[in-house]
Structure formats: C-alpha cells, structure tokens
C-alpha cells in the first residue's frame, strides 16, 4: 500500500510538471479505487445513502494517499483523473442498467415498444441512465467545441467540486468558471434533450 501511495504521489507530481504519460498512468489506479467504492454502493443501494461524487472522490483519495497534506496542484490532478474515472464508471453502469432493462422487456415481447414510450417518471433508473449516456456523447462534442467548458463540467459534475474548487483546480477566476458552467450546462442539457427526444417523422419539415 505504501509503495502504491508513493507511486501515485510521484505520478501526481509528474503530472503537475507536465511529464508525458503521468496522467495516463494515474487514471487506472484512481479508476480501480473508485470502482471498488461504487461497487460497495451498489450492494447497499437500498440503504438510503445520500452521496455526492465528491464524497466518493475524497474517499478514494484518502484510501490511495492517506490523510497526508498535499499541495493543491497535485490534488487538482487527482480530481481531474477522478472525474474521468467517475465518468467511465457511471456511464458503464448506466449502459448496464439500460441493457438489463431492455433484456427484461425483450422477454415480454409485447412490451418492447411500450417501454420506449413510457413516461420518464415510470422508467425509474432507465430514464436517468439514458440521460447519462446522452450526456457522455454530448460531452464528447463539447470537448471538441470548447475544452475549457468540458473540463469545468467534468470537475463540477463528475468530481463534485464547487465553483471555487473548480476555479482553483483549473487556475481560473471563479467568475470565469461560473460563466463557463452556466453556458455549458444549458448547452449540454439542450443537447441531451435533443438526443433523447424521438426523431421527427419523415413527413414533417426538418428544423435546425
């Protein structure tokens, strides 16, 4: 464990110095730890937990690096890796939820179409899962349009950082982070809505 801690600390320092490969090497370590924590949550799903991703990320941080103080830059790199790891874990989980639901519905052949037209509220986790999958695709588009907005959303949503913490992690002003978040949030939600709404019938006129 101590070896791993030393290794992660070194990787974080390398990442903050911009050394090639450090972030890539860091990611699987953080991913494994977060996945273990998430798996623990799955088994306690009905326990009524109230959790923000930040709780999970901090838990992973403590497990991997212990309570020792670390400079903010290193922590920022950790949160960056954690956000990416969290996104992968949650999207995988969402795909799993969706696949399980589709399989369950497929076995009741008559219900397949009905499932697609069921109101969101009755879908339980499937609607949320669909939203997460749509968000994942929209985030890929956002990364191409504006990488700064993408990074802000990753840290805010998947690592659960506040505006202030995000600003510090990205070395931006809080005003900038707030503006980027406000715009990216509205843009992403609109994209998710578009992706989730059923395609227009061929006869209707196409609109931008």
């Amino acid at each position: 464990m101590n070896d791993e801690k030393t290794r992660i600390t070194r990787l974080l320092e390398d990442a903050s110095l911009g050394r090639a490969g450090a972030t890539d090497a860091l990611l699987p370590l953080v991913y494994d730890e977060l996945r273990k924590l998430a798996a623990g949550l799955m088994s306690r799903e009905k326990a009524g937990l109230t959790l923000q991703p930040t709780a999970l990320v901090h838990e992973a941080y403590l497990r991997l690096l212990g309570p020792s103080p670390m400079n903010w830059q290193n922590r920022a790199h950790f949160f960056g890796a954690a956000a990416t790891a969290m996104r992968r874990i949650l999207i995988d989980r969402a795909r799993h939820v969706k696949a399980a639901r589709v399989n369950a519905v497929s076995s009741e052949t008559d219900q397949v179409i009905a499932a697609d037209s069921t109101p969101a509220g009755e879908m339980g986790g499937t609607h949320d899962a669909d939203q997460l999958i749509a968000l994942d695709a929209a985030l890929e588009d956002l990364a191409k349009r504006d990488s700064r907005q993408h990074d802000v959303v990753m840290l805010r949503y998947f690592a659960g950082l506040t505006i202030d913490q995000t600003a510090e992690a990205l070395s931006l002003s809080t005003g900038t982070v707030k503006n980027e978040w406000t715009y990216a949030r509205a843009w992403l939600l609109h994209q998710i809505e578009r992706r989730m709404s059923p395609p227009a019938p061929p006869s209707s006129p196409a609109r931008g």
Binding site: L51, A94, G121, R145, D164, L189, G208
Partner: protein, 433 residues
C-alpha cells in the same frame, strides 16, 4: 450535430438573452429568428434549461447511475439541529443544496427564505418556501413530487416563475415525514403589493386596469393548466420596482397545499356549498383586488343586505358608491366579478380580461384626468371642424357665386345675349337667402 453554426454567435446571443426578462428574451429571439432561425431555436432551447435548477446536471451523477437512492443534495452539519431548536434554518445553512441567505417571512404552515441554489454568492437568489416539518404528510410529499412538471410549465409574465418543486430529502434524522420536506423555489420578487404601489405612485385608472387585465390573463393561463390559487389576495400580487410587471406569487404553493389546508377552512367549505368553481374563487379574488385598486379600500359588505340562501358570499357595497367617478361600464365589471351568486359571476378569467381590455380600448373611458384631457381635445377638434366647415361653406358659396356669374360672361356670346356684369348677377341670386 452541434457545430452547424458559429459557437461564438450562439454564446453571445445566449448570454445577452439570459440577462433579459421573459418578454425581452422573446422579443430578442424573434428578431434574431428572422435572420438566423437555427441559432434562435438553439438559444431558446438552452434558455428553457437555464431557468430551471433541477436538471440532471444539478443532481448527483451517482443518483443518475442508480448508485444513490435519495436526493443527494448536501445539507450542512448542524443545520437540522438549529432548525429543531429555533423552528427555522439559520442564515448561511446549506439545506438540500440551497444556501439560506435570510428569512423573508414565516407563517403558520411555512417559512420563506431568500436562498441561492449554489454556495456561490453571485448566484441569482430565489424564494425558497418550505413547509413546517410537523405539517409534512405522506400525501403532501407525494403531491409535491408529482406536480413539479406541470407547475414548472406555467410561464406567464404576471406569475412569479416556479424554478423547482419537490421534496428536499434532509435525511432520516430530520423532522417531518421521513425527513422529506416539501418545497417550492420561485423567482424572487421583492416589492410592494399592487394596491400599496398604485397608491404610492398615483397610478392612473388606465394603468390600474392594464394591471388587472394582466392578472386576469395570468389567472386564465394557470386555470387552463388546471392550476388554481384559491387563496389569491392583494398581498399575493407584488410589484418589484416602478414600471415592472405585477407578479402573482405563491401560485404553486397555494395550489399544492390547498387540498389539505384550505379544505379545512370555513371559506373553502362555504365555496363548495355555493357551487363556486375553483376558477370563480380566483375571479372573486381578482374582483376584490380590482375593487381595492379603484376604490382605495377593500370591498365592504353592503349595509342592510342579507346573505342570500345557499350563497356563501355577502353582497358588497357597489364600487360606484365608494368611488362616484367610476364609470358604469367599469362598475359592471367589478361587480360581476364580485357577484355573490356564482351563476352571475364570470365563469372564466379570460371573460373578465376581455371586458377590461374592451374598456381599455375605449378612448378616455373613465379616468377623470384623462376624460378632461380628451374633452379639451374633443372641444378643440369640434372648434377646428366648425371653423373648417365655415371656410368650406364660404368657399362653396363664393364658388357658386362665381359660377353663377362667370358663365354668363362666357356663355353670353354663345347665347348671343347681352353680357351681364357680375355685380348685377350676384344681386339677383341673393333673394333666396
């Protein structure tokens, strides 16, 4: 799919529109739509999400992935202990993801806070209304969960916009039904009630009627969505600043809590007894507000009038008696809204709005100051008209005289008769007069 246009233009338009009110946004977007319909549509879609604060990106992603079964919005440590001791949350407390700024008001069943959705101090403050924990019931929690979508759809310039509706999950240790706390977050309107404002700025009758028409239109909009206030009064109509639109507040809250709280009140029982529809309950309230705006005081029961059998409402003193300068047409609208018998009252708020609008379309219908102005204008117009008629008459007369005289000069050679001088001719034409 996304980069079909220049993102910079999209962002500029979004940020510009986000600063405007609902009407300003609509106007800006309609102008942009003429030249860039794609961008206008996209920004319109983005703004729809911008004004809400309960979208998936505002919740924990763990919850979306099915890893967290409750709300996941944070509550600061000690917030619940403070509430238990003082009956309300402390300033600065984080409750279900909202940061409390100050208490705006405390009633028997609820407390209203000014709050922000984020811990960020620059976030736009909203009005956060929470049920008192001891009054939260399972049925109420369910109703708040189910009604959210409908209430958020209610968008009208004269209704304080509903930002979020639901239950804050404060955890099992919190007071209330299962730690659930029904809440409504709305646009924050800090201002005065409509009658106080009207009095303070000496609002003209025309402006008062325009205000009433907007309120009727808003009520009709809500009624069409199946939402009724049922506790509407002048204190629920606020104006934030001079010239701003009046806003009906508490609509979402009233409609969600009326089933339990209001049905127990004598008023609601009487309403049922008199076969008043929910829309007519609101219309009666609109009549009371209109009466107060025009007469300067609330309607008083008519002296000596007895309550009619089967009716819950007492006849009120006609507004013409309270304010003799009120025109009969205007009095008819107010008294129709306040008719004790629902059969004689407006059935729909839009009928009342239409009558007020019709009156507003008439020139100088009632306002004494306006009437005097129009009277002066009309007198001036009549004077100009009479003057013009005199001039035209004179011209006609002179032309006729000239016509009568000149043909003789011209025609005479044709007829071969003797030319007669104009003076002689004119002298001959005069006797008829």
């Amino acid at each position: 799919m996304s980069a079909t246009h220049e993102p910079i233009a999209l962002r500029q338009l979004f940020e510009q529109a986000a600063l405007l009110d609902v009407a300003g946004r609509a106007e800006l977007l309609s102008r942009v739509r003429l030249v860039q319909p794609d961008i206008a549509d996209e920004v319109e879609g983005m703004l729809r999400h911008h004004v809400r604060d309960d979208a998936m990106l505002d919740r924990s992603p763990l919850q979306a992935a099915g890893l967290s079964v409750v709300d996941g919005r944070p509550t600061s440590g000690g917030a619940l202990d403070y509430e238990r001791e003082h009956g309300m949350f402390a300033e600065g407390a984080i409750v279900g993801g909202y940061t409390i700024r100050r208490v705006l008001g405390a009633g028997g069943s609820s407390i209203v806070y000014e709050a922000t959705r984020d811990s960020d101090a620059t976030a736009t403050p909203i009005a956060l209304k929470l049920i008192r924990p001891e009054l939260a019931t399972e049925a109420m929690v369910r109703r708040f969960d189910e009604a959210g979508a409908t209430l958020r759809e209610l968008r009208h310039p004269a209704i304080a916009a509903c930002v979020a509706v639901g239950n804050l999950d404060l955890g099992g240790s919190a007071m209330g039904w299962g730690g659930h706390r029904p809440f409504v977050a709305t646009e924050l309107v800090c201002g005065t009630t409509a009658p106080v404002y009207a009095n303070a700025v000496a609002l003209s009758t025309r402006d008062k009627l325009a205000l009433v028409a907007a309120l009727c239109d808003a009520a009709d909009h809500a009624h069409r969505h199946g939402v009724h206030h049922l506790r509407l009064s002048a204190s629920h109509v606020l104006i934030g600043q001079p010239g701003a639109a009046a806003k009906i507040i508490d609509l979402a809250w009233a409609t969600l809590t009326s089933g339990e709280a209001a049905s127990a009140t004598p008023l609601a029982r009487r309403s049922h007894a008199s076969h008043e529809t929910p829309a007519q309950t609101d219309i009666y309230a609109l009549g009371e507000i209109m009466y107060e705006l025009l007469a300067g005081h609330r309607p008083r029961p008519m002296v000596g009038a007895a309550q009619l059998p089967g009716l819950s409402r007492m006849p009120v003193e006609p507004i013409g008696r309270a304010n003799p300068s009120i025109a009969p047409g205007l009095e008819a609208i107010v008294m129709c809204a306040l008719a004790p018998d629902p059969a004689r009252r407006y059935a729909r708020a839009r009928e009342m709005a239409a009558d007020v609008q019709r009156l507003l379309a008439l020139p100088a219908f009632i306002d004494p100051r306006q009437a005097a102005l129009v009277h002066r204008r009309r007198t001036r117009r009549v004077a100009v008209l009479v003057g013009a008629m005199v001039v035209v008459g004179l011209c006609v007369r002179l032309g006729w005289e000239w016509a009568r005289s000149s043909p003789r000069v011209v025609i005479a050679p044709v007829e071969g008769s003797e030319a007669i001088g104009p003076d002689q001719g004119s002298g001959q034409t005069q006797p008829a007069k």
